[in-house]
């Protein structure tokens, strides 16, 4: 059952990821990215990350992607045009990326010990209680610094996107 669920959601994530790269319309890419994020949330649940799965759906698939879709519609982004041909990118880029993926996949197979399986329910430290406890004790200072970062991001976004006032 675990393996079946992993297969289904991994397939969804992979297909949506490929779709993101090959689609020519920005809005199709955005919807594919929503699919990837939803599938990843399910995989987080399989790995025992209850809080982070919910946060993935709410923050990533919800808030950030709504922002993206909003900007795509605001700017009326259509089909992208290829103004310049790059033959070297077409012929060297894809094989080099395959080499990168092959190397990483091979390394992962090499270093991970056999019989190291993911069993649903084995990891129980991903509940909101545990995440909250770690966040507000061990990681309290980074958490507070993050709030300053968010404040600066809000101010920056407002300053950048406002209308010019004479």
């Amino acid at each position: 059952m675990d393996a079946l669920l992993f297969m289904i959601f991994a397939a969804i994530a992979a297909v949506c990821g490929i779709n993101l790269v090959i689609q020519k319309h920005a809005i199709s890419s955005a919807l594919s990215l929503v699919g990837v994020m939803a599938a990843l949330a399910a995989l987080y649940l399989l790995l025992g990350g209850e809080f982070i799965a919910a946060a993935q759906l709410v923050v990533y698939a919800g808030a950030i992607m709504v922002l993206f879709v909003f900007v795509i519609m605001l700017l009326n982004a259509g089909v992208e045009r290829t103004t310049r041909r790059r033959p070297w990118a077409q012929y060297a880029g894809v094989p080099l990326l395959l080499v990168l993926f092959g190397t990483v996949a091979l390394l992962v197979q090499e270093i991970s010990p056999a019989g190291d399986n993911v069993i649903f329910g084995e990891f129980t430290k991903g509940t909101p209680l545990d995440v909250g406890r770690a966040l507000f004790t061990t990681y309290l200072l980074p958490f507070e610094v993050t709030s300053v970062l968010i404040l600066i991001a809000i101010l920056g976004a407002i300053v950048l996107a406002r209308k010019e006032i004479d």
């Binding site: 993101l20 920005a26 987080y44 790995l47 808030a63 900007v71 190291d116 399986n117 990681y139 991001a153």
Partner: protein
């Protein structure tokens, strides 16, 4: 069809994460629309998050979850500022193609 194993090896999760990361790199390199390039960066961040969660499972510690939580927060801030920059670029140049944004080149 070969029979599925009862449980999934940890390495499959890491391989999926590597695959998604490579897809993000491909989108970043090959796509010409500035918004799609930005979305490819988000895909790479998501792939790294999956690695964090997988190793958190392996080490039986919650720290990986905290790290991916921080990655999410920083991605949200980055998306807000980045999309504001894209809006400003579009207002000034009326284009979203990164090929045409080359005033620093010459």
């Amino acid at each position: 069809m070969p029979a599925l194993p009862a449980a999934v090896p940890l390495s499959w999760y890491l391989t999926l994460s590597a695959f998604l990361f490579v897809l993000g790199v491909a989108g970043f390199l090959f796509r010409r629309n500035i918004i799609t390039v930005f979305m490819s960066i988000e895909l790479m961040l998501n792939a790294v998050n999956l690695t964090f969660i997988t190793f958190s499972y392996k080490l039986q510690q919650v720290d990986g979850h905290i790290f991916s939580f921080f990655v999410m927060v920083v991605a949200a801030a980055e998306a807000a500022v980045g999309l504001a920059i894209i809006l400003t670029v579009f207002k000034n140049r009326q284009t979203l193609e990164i090929d045409e944004l080359d005033s620093l080149k010459n």
